[in-house]
């Protein structure tokens, strides 16, 4: 320790002229501030800005030069024997030199920036969101990283050893390994884990270089080639261990099973579908998101890209038999179809840029896409586009689309001033504006099975109305109150509308023509979602508050009573909650997560439970 300090003091003394240069750079910003034309209107800004630039540039240049020479030059010039012929341990030589170099870099940075900070401290906020301390720490961390890397490159290059080819190969291998570590985390949208991985590898690299420096002098001493060899062995050995540890961790993270999903769980399922798509954050795995395509019948799960759950999402066909999902390929997505009984998905041949929406026909044989303002209808069996037209985009917020029939596609364009309705007939090959619903704000709706009628709710307008789904014209007002919680068409064309607190929660059932058939009061809450119906009963998901546990409630429509209820877990968006149009198949089982890692299929008729996964 004492000898390390003695060496540090000597190195520092030798390079004291650098400190003099730093002092000169500390004065320069003050000179600039008073020079007309440079100083500008705010001299303090000039001082602050120029001193930050000088300090960063000076420290960076010093880091590169010091790093490349503080050991490497002594080795290549044959001067390392000056130390090694003295009674000092090689570790003392290394840490003495290292300490001096780091102190010099940090010291020069502080020398340049401190006077400006004192003189123009308040100006820092005018050009940076970072505080001076944060900016300084960041600059110094990057500078020290630069210094350590320069040492490695300096040692390697100055040894003039062919081993540098192996180093290059090792560096490339490390880069490839890091890419393979980052990719699955990036696919899992795990930004925090990627950042932690970066910090871990950066620390490992710093340890490898600092430790490697001590090791190279201990093993190589005055011989530059042996120094190179020792540093290489330590550096790449340490990085290999670090990458192995990181790889093991990443492997564990991405091995999450459906039962590991604990938070932010999103599920998607359609009545009659053999598939359940489940996504969420996995237990003890930071912000890693996983998504699975689960066979509801046997509980088998295959991992899918959780990113697919994003803007484009997955699309169940209305008959429930197929699931269309994007498969990410660089910056585009290949649409594939998962079908009942097929072990592998079928290629549609359709490729979309990421995040662009697509809509499937009831049987999945036709897919509509909207890419950069072009609406296209694609025939899956023929693997060809049938028609492509421009769609209006002025003031557009987003699109919803539905196949009225295999040949007719209905497009709902949400905009600031309401909803515009268009139809595209593949036989006519022209986009036709069929109607609109004007409103100062958002318009939400639910469609009947035939896409001929819609229940409409307008932002800032009380109640819901029955409208023509093609023209948007109001047919009649269904409920006039303010407290409509949710609404949906049933599979047979009847309408179900829930009104809730502060009055008692009531399920109104209307005929397809809009006549009120019955009111069914029940113990509801602020949140009520539609799960589905089987013709006789409708299943709702009820929660007193957003964060409260959900209860599944099966209400018999004929008798007007709650037949069964089932407590489900938290953090679920119930299957069917986002569907605007009822499915073809009746609801036979409700799939939910019980919050304890189980995915359960609940029969609302019998009340029987079946463990899909995690049982």
């Amino acid at each position: 320790m004492k000898n390390a300090l003695v060496i540090a003091a000597r190195e520092f003394e030798e390079k004291r002229f650098v400190a003099y240069a730093a002092v000169a750079f500390a004065i320069l910003p003050f000179i600039f501030a008073v020079i007309p034309g440079i100083g500008g209107k705010s001299p303090s800004d000039t001082i602050a800005m120029s001193s930050l630039i000088f300090a960063t540039g000076f420290a960076g240049a010093l880091a590169v030069m010091s790093g490349a020479s503080f050991v490497g030059r002594d080795l290549s010039d044959g001067r390392m024997s000056f130390y090694f012929s003295r009674p000092v341990a090689s570790a003392s030589i290394w840490f003495g030199k290292l300490t001096a170099a780091i102190l010099m870099i940090v010291g020069c940075f502080v020398v340049i920036i401190a006077p400006a900070w004192l003189a123009a401290g308040k100006s820092w906020t005018t050009f940076s969101t970072l505080s001076l301390r944060e900016a300084s720490v960041m600059v110094l961390l990057y500078t020290l990283a630069l210094f350590l890397i320069a040492h490695v490159i300096g040692t390697f290059a100055r040894s003039r050893s062919p081993l540098i080819v192996a180093d290059f190969a090792a560096a490339v291998l490390c880069g490839v390994a890091i890419r393979f570590l980052v990719l699955p985390l990036a696919a899992g949208l795990a930004e925090m884990l990627i950042a932690r991985l970066g910090i871990f590898l950066a620390i490992a690299l710093a340890v490898a270089i600092v430790g490697g420096g001590a090791w190279q002098l201990a093993r190589g001493r005055t011989d530059r080639r042996r120094n190179h060899l020792a540093l290489s062995q330590f550096l790449w050995g340490t990085m290999a261990v670090a990458l192995l540890v990181a790889g093991t961790y990443v492997g564990w993270v991405v091995s999450a099973k459906p039962s590991d999903l604990t938070t932010r769980i999103i599920a998607s399922h359609r009545a009659g579908s053999p598939f359940l798509v489940l996504a969420g954050r996995a237990r003890n795995r930071g912000d890693y998101n996983a998504a699975y395509l689960i066979d509801v019948g046997d509980g088998s799960a295959r991992k899918i890209d959780p990113d697919m759950w994003g803007a484009g999402g997955v699309e169940f066909t209305r008959d429930g038999r197929s699931l269309i999902a994007p498969r990410k390929e660089n910056h585009s997505e290949d649409l594939v179809i998962y079908k009942r009984g097929a072990s592998e998905p079928t290629e549609t041949g359709l490729t979309l840029p990421s995040t662009y929406p697509f809509f499937a026909s009831d049987d999945g044989n036709r897919i509509a896409t909207i890419v950069r303002g072009n609406l296209s209808i694609y025939d899956v069996p023929q693997k060809r586009s049938l028609v492509s037209v421009r769609v209006p985009s002025d003031g557009r917020l987003y699109y919803q689309g539905f196949f009225v029939s295999p040949d007719v596609f209905r497009l709902y364009l949400h905009a600031q001033d309401g909803l515009s309705i268009y139809e595209l007939d593949t036989r006519v090959r022209g986009l036709q504006a069929t109607g609109a619903i004007t409103n100062e704000g958002f318009v939400s709706f639910a469609l009947d099975p035939t896409v001929s009628h819609m229940i409409v709710r307008r932002h800032n307008v009380d109640g819901v109305t029955l409208n023509d789904a093609r023209s948007g014209a109001i047919i009649k007002t269904l409920v006039g109150g303010k407290n409509v919680l949710n609404y949906r068409f049933l599979r047979d064309g009847r309408m179900a509308i829930v009104e809730g607190p502060p009055s008692k929660t009531t399920l109104h059932i209307f005929s397809p023509g809009g006549t009120l058939q019955r009111d069914i009061p029940f113990d509801g809450g602020e949140r009520v979602g539609f799960v589905g119906d089987d013709g006789t009963r409708v299943v709702l998901s009820v929660a007193s508050k957003e964060s409260s546990p959900r209860t599944l409630v099966a209400i018999n429509l004929d008798r007007g009573v709650i037949e069964r209820s089932e407590r489900s877990g938290l953090d679920w968006t119930m299957a069917g909650a986002w569907e605007s149009r009822p499915p073809i198949e009746p609801l036979r089982e409700v799939i939910y997560g019980d919050g304890a890692g189980h995915i359960v299929a609940w029969n609302p008729v019998t009340g029987a439970r079946r463990m899909v996964t995690g049982g």
């Binding site: 000597r10 030798e14 044959g78 000056f82 090694f84 009674p87 005055t222 011989d223």
Partner: protein, 295 residues
């Protein structure tokens, strides 16, 4: 306590496919003065680096005072003064700063001796090391090496760059004085004339191998130059082994490496070779004879 200040056994150093030191073994007793000679590239400096624990050999070991010089280098250097072949002190530092730096690293340090020696050598303390001549740098290195009163002084070609006066001073006053005081000296040099007067033992390296390792007196006693007045000359090689044979118009000259008065007289009378003159040889002449004879 071992009697050897230096013991090198089976030392092998390779640089890639080139063997710089090839299975060398030698010992130097405490208080002895060992001169290692050899042509440039013979492997002397590699051997010295291994000896000082600055380089790990591929094979063999180097011991100083009975301890491994690679693993115990830092501790051993308290007892060893070193003058390297090339001046290795930082060129930007003043001589005084270098001395001050070194003084903090050693358990014992005689600053007065450093200043006195540098004064003798005529090297100003305030001078930048990089501004000194090659000879002055060597003198500074020597002054620093001697300031610790070393038990072993290792000098790697110390006369390189020294003028005649400085060289004479180094050998006669400094090293001679150290030898008299019982300090072990290990010196590599080309200046055989300089070491001849005080070296106890001499080693000669050639192509990495130690081709000669012998007491100086014994070496000098077995080498002779014999000049014959007439030729042809037939030498009984079983009795006297000629290392070099040269002839000229009227006579011939042989350098023998196993000279013995009795054998010579016996050969002369038996071979009837006539007049012959026997001359003792200097170390330098012997070195040239050996090196030349092998080249």
């Amino acid at each position: 306590m071992t009697d050897n200040a230096i013991r090198i056994s089976d030392l092998t150093v390779r640089y890639g496919r080139t063997t710089a030191v090839d299975h060398v073994a030698l010992t130097v007793d405490r208080g002895g003065v060992y001169a290692l000679v050899g042509r440039n590239g013979a492997g002397k400096s590699s051997l010295v680096r291994c000896l000082l624990g600055q380089q790990k050999p591929q094979h063999g070991e180097t011991m100083l005072f009975g301890e491994d010089s690679w693993s115990r280098r830092a501790a051993l250097m308290q007892r060893v003064g070193v003058v390297t072949e090339e001046a290795d002190a930082p060129p930007e530092m003043s001589v005084a700063s270098i001395a001050r730096f070194c003084s903090r690293l050693y358990d014992k340090w005689d600053q007065a001796s450093v200043e006195a020696r540098l004064k003798t050598f005529g090297v100003p303390l305030a001078s930048r090391f990089g501004s000194l001549s090659k000879g002055q740098k060597k003198q500074v290195s020597l002054a620093l090496a001697l300031a610790v009163s070393p038990e072993l002084l290792v000098l790697d070609d110390p006369t390189l760059g020294l003028d005649v006066v400085a060289r004479k001073s180094l050998f006669e006053e400094v090293i001679g004085d150290l030898a008299d005081r019982g300090t072990t000296v290990f010196i590599t040099t080309h200046d055989l004339a300089g070491v001849e007067t005080f070296a106890d033992r001499v080693g000669m390296m050639e192509n990495g191998r130690l081709v000669l390792d012998e007491e100086v007196d014994a070496l000098k006693s077995r080498f002779r130059r014999i000049r014959f007045a007439a030729q042809p000359v037939a030498i009984d090689t079983a009795a006297l082994r000629p290392t070099v044979m040269r002839s000229w118009g009227g006579g011939a000259e042989a350098i023998v490496s196993n000279y013995d008065d009795l054998a010579f007289e016996r050969m002369r009378s038996a071979s009837n070779i006539g007049a012959a003159e026997v001359e003792a040889m200097s170390l330098e002449e012997i070195f040239i004879a050996i090196a030349g004879g092998k080249s």
